[in-house]
């Protein structure tokens, strides 16, 4: 009987090795997201996401974003993520009316004309918060873009994620999109993913953002 056991474990060990070789084949990588997509309704947000992405409201985010002298105040935030390096954060910020803008000018003297300045201010404030929250933040590029018929700002960035063992460091790529939401609010979309699978994840995030709606009514003339 011992010979049977010996034959079995040797054969199974060879099988395990063969499986590990098959799994390490770079041409046969698992898809970054499930092919099954589900609808998510959380807070002010509604979107579609792959089934293996987890959506939740992060209480730490809710508490941490509102810093004393920040010109923006968080109204709602959710995370839709697959892991610590992969996910999407959606935030709605309101510009604070109790703070005076630089130069003594109020932010809301003329909201329609002050449109781009509002976006820039909110975008910079949000970018600063991300930079403070992560390690080794590097801004790569900021540009004006059009999304759903409205002007928005987009910043591509990189940072380092340091997990349990401080010896290991993981690079993370991401981008921040700030779009107007009405006249006094802004929508921030923060997407992040491992740099080695950027293209695959960006396609997933584009689809998720494409399905995103905020609140019940859609803004007239485009937007979220």
């Amino acid at each position: 009987m011992l010979l049977v056991y010996r034959f079995l474990w040797i054969a199974a060990a060879l099988g395990v090795l063969a499986c590990l070789l098959a799994l390490s084949n770079p041409n046969r990588r698992a898809p970054v997201a499930s092919s099954q997509w589900v609808s998510i309704y959380l807070g002010q947000f509604a979107l579609k996401a792959p089934a293996d992405f987890r959506a939740y409201r992060d209480p730490l985010t809710q508490m941490g974003v509102n810093t004393p002298n920040s010109p923006i105040q968080l109204r709602d935030a959710i995370r839709v993520e697959r892991g610590v390096r992969t996910g999407l954060r959606l935030l709605i910020n309101t510009l604070r009316t109790d703070l005076q803008a630089s130069g003594g000018e109020s932010m809301f003297t003329n909201p329609s004309e002050n449109y781009l300045r509002l976006i820039v201010r909110a975008h910079d404030a949000q970018k600063q918060k991300i930079a403070q929250a992560v390690t080794d933040f590097r801004e790569k590029q900021t540009r004006v873009m059009r999304t759903r018929g409205v002007t928005a700002l987009r910043t591509d960035f990189e940072y380092t994620h340091m997990p349990l063992l401080p010896l290991l460091r993981f690079r993370v790529q991401g981008y921040l999109i700030t779009a107007p939401l009405g006249t006094a609010e802004t929508l921030h979309i923060v997407a992040y993913h491992p740099p080695e699978r950027a293209q695959e994840y960006r396609a997933v995030f584009d689809r998720m953002i494409g399905s995103l709606t905020v609140g019940q009514a859609k803004a007239e003339g485009g937007g979220y």
């Binding site: 590990l20 799994l23 390490s24 349990l164 063992l165």
Partner: protein, 225 residues
């Protein structure tokens, strides 16, 4: 069983009928054994019986060397692991569930292969609660295993008490197979190494250890000592 052609009964004896005491071939009445002969035969049978019992206990408790126990264990455990890895190649998104089934089966085979004792002592249950809490709090199986081993080592150094090593062996098996399965998922690109090294209080991190313990319990019920 032969039938005695003299009395018609089925008899266990090969030469003499146990009922009519006749020789099955010749029909001659066999002489009754003397008391001395009967006593000698009784002693002989008792000795044979004792030898059989001793041999059985010897096989179970001493005869299975560590190598033999390991070979018994890995013959089934590696087979289950291989099937799980094949499943991971095929459907990585179901790896959590296939992993749970694999750990359950490996747990059942643990006591059946005599690699660990049956799950019946109170102190073993206590240690299992400790490792479950460690796994939940630390999230990482390797870290939980190392912390538990260090704790047991420190306790032994302080007290020099006889320790039950079953939970240590179970943790070694658990950590090894978790490394194998999670390593497969990382190689496949389905699991991010950064996630594996992250603190996360989720039931998914504890469930495989729970399945292994449930398997150990079930296997203990079926092991016949």
């Amino acid at each position: 069983m032969p039938v005695c052609r003299w009395c018609g009964n089925e008899t266990h004896g090969a030469q003499v009928c146990e009922f009519c005491k006749r020789d099955l071939n010749t029909g001659a009445v066999a002489a009754a054994p003397s008391p001395a002969q009967a006593y000698t035969r009784f002693l002989q049978e008792a000795s044979e019986q004792t030898e059989k019992s001793v041999k059985f206990l010897y096989e179970v408790n001493i005869g299975y060397t560590l190598t033999a126990r390991l070979e018994r264990f890995f013959s089934v455990a590696l087979l289950v692991a291989m099937l799980n890895l094949i499943f991971i190649v095929w459907r990585p998104e179901w790896s959590l569930w296939s992993g749970l089934v694999s750990f359950l089966l490996i747990g059942v085979w643990l006591p059946m292969s005599y690699l660990v004792d049956r799950l019946e002592e109170l102190e073993v249950y206590r240690d299992l609660v400790i490792v479950l809490i460690l796994q939940f709090v630390l999230a990482n199986p390797l870290l939980a295993g190392l912390v538990y081993a260090a704790g047991v080592g420190a306790y032994w150094l302080l007290t020099r008490a006889d320790l039950n090593s079953s939970v240590l062996i179970v943790m070694l098996v658990y950590v090894s197979f978790r490394l194998l399965f999670d390593g497969g998922l990382i190689l496949n690109g389905y699991l991010d190494l950064a996630d594996w090294l992250q603190f996360a209080f989720t039931w998914q991190s504890v469930a495989p250890l729970g399945a292994l313990i449930v398997g150990w319990f079930v296997g203990s019920l079926f092991r016949n000592d």
